[in-house]
């Protein structure tokens, strides 16, 4: 175990955990946007910053990637932490004013209008969809493309990717609801990636299922019998 001090409390954490994990393990809340416990941390949103108190002075670090070491002294809600988070939320609101989570965070912090406008997106580029598609699904259908202000999440060449399986994990993991799913009886569309699928009707129960790509393998397995 590792022992550290968070908000004046001595807490214990498993060796190898991050400051964020140590805090959450001990019921100390740190807000996050780009973190998901099932995915590799990305340290992209900077909402999870905490103050690290050292003999040489204080420092802001992203708790989702900072290793919880013995003797660390951490403050999760000090003045500079609040100030930094406020700026982060204001900038996120400036870039993605359509994202409900950001609107809510801004409202909580009393931010009405961001001082600048950096876009009108509903995506905060947290990369959760990309990491879920890669790490959980293994499809690698989408990625972060371009750089700086032009950065977006897209399938390759910005056209529907044949790597997309229509699993909708990205839809579930997206914190802003930016990825729209349309499921009607015999078709499924994941609009943001322009992924369209035809669903087949099961000859036995009449329900629709979405696995046309896998069907040939299934046929092979069943020796070309009707499936």
């Amino acid at each position: 175990m590792t022992t550290l001090t968070i908000d004046g409390r001595q807490v214990e954490a498993l060796r190898g955990s991050t400051v964020l994990e140590a805090a959450r393990e001990n019921h100390i809340e740190i807000p996050t946007l780009c973190y998901h416990e099932a995915l590799e941390p990305y340290a992209g949103c900077r909402l999870c910053v905490v103050e690290l108190v050292t003999p040489k002075g204080s420092q802001l670090v992203a708790s989702c990637v900072y290793a919880a070491e013995d003797g660390l002294v951490v403050k999760t809600n000090s003045g500079i932490v609040q100030e930094s988070r406020r700026m982060t939320v204001e900038l996120l609101l400036a870039a993605a004013p359509k994202a409900k989570v950001i609107q809510d965070l801004a409202a909580e912090m009393g931010i009405e209008e961001p001082r600048v406008s950096l876009g009108d997106s509903d995506c905060i580029l947290c990369g959760l969809c990309v990491r879920a598609c890669k790490e959980i699904v293994g499809a690698n259908a989408i990625s972060l493309v371009n750089r700086g202000f032009a950065k977006e999440v897209k399938p390759p060449f910005e056209i529907g990717s044949n790597a997309c399986t229509g699993c909708t994990t990205c839809v579930l993991v997206c914190p802003t609801g930016a990825i729209k799913l349309e499921d009607v009886l015999d078709s499924r569309s994941v609009h943001r990636w322009e992924s369209d699928f035809e669903a087949r009707e099961c000859k036995i129960c009449g329900d629709h299922y979405l696995a046309p790509e896998f069907a040939p393998d299934l046929k092979e397995l069943l020796g070309e019998e009707e499936v």
């Binding site: 990625s143 897209k154 390759p156 060449f157």
Partner: protein, 163 residues
């Protein structure tokens, strides 16, 4: 006429084949070779490289769109870069960009129809004392004003407004 180099898959096979023998098999260096050969990264090349390297296409596309050195659209035979960094900017580099854009009949970021020239801007190349700085095909020119830009273009064979 567009001078877009036709992409030839067998040539790529040569390129990749060389790499297989050598030590260096990084995605970046392969993309650099292809960019140098075709002056852009043809879509089919990206697909083949991904397959060959076993890298998901989404990742190759991510890398190809991240770096300034790569382009998905064919670039001109001559690449003209003008610095719009703070120091060059206050010394009037915007005028230089406007003049070159006007002469070539393209906007920054574009390539002339005949595939001869690409005009680009960048932000500080670390030669601020020499500003405004223009870089043509890798050679730096300092203290460039609109008239100087005309002279540089003339050397490249552009007299007056192109087309």
């Amino acid at each position: 006429m567009n001078s877009e180099q036709a992409f030839d898959a067998s040539e790529l096979a040569d390129l990749l084949g060389d790499k297989q023998d050598g030590e260096d098999k990084s995605l970046m260096s392969i993309l650099e070779d292809v960019q140098a050969r075709y002056r852009y990264l043809p879509k089919d090349a990206l697909i083949l490289i991904s397959e060959w390297m076993g890298v998901p296409l989404s990742q190759t596309y991510s890398v190809a769109t991240f770096y300034n050195a790569f382009s998905l659209k064919p670039k001109g035979r001559h690449i003209i870069n003008v610095c719009l960094g703070t120091a060059c900017n206050v010394r009037g580099s915007r005028k230089v960009v406007e003049r070159i854009a006007d002469r070539l009949g393209i906007e920054p970021g574009e390539t002339t129809q005949d595939g001869e020239f690409t005009l680009e801007t960048l932000n500080c190349v670390g030669a601020c004392a020499l500003g405004p700085v223009a870089i043509i095909d890798g050679t730096h020119f300092g203290r460039v004003n609109a008239a100087g830009a005309d002279k540089l273009l003339k050397k490249l064979g552009v007299e007056g407004r192109k087309e």
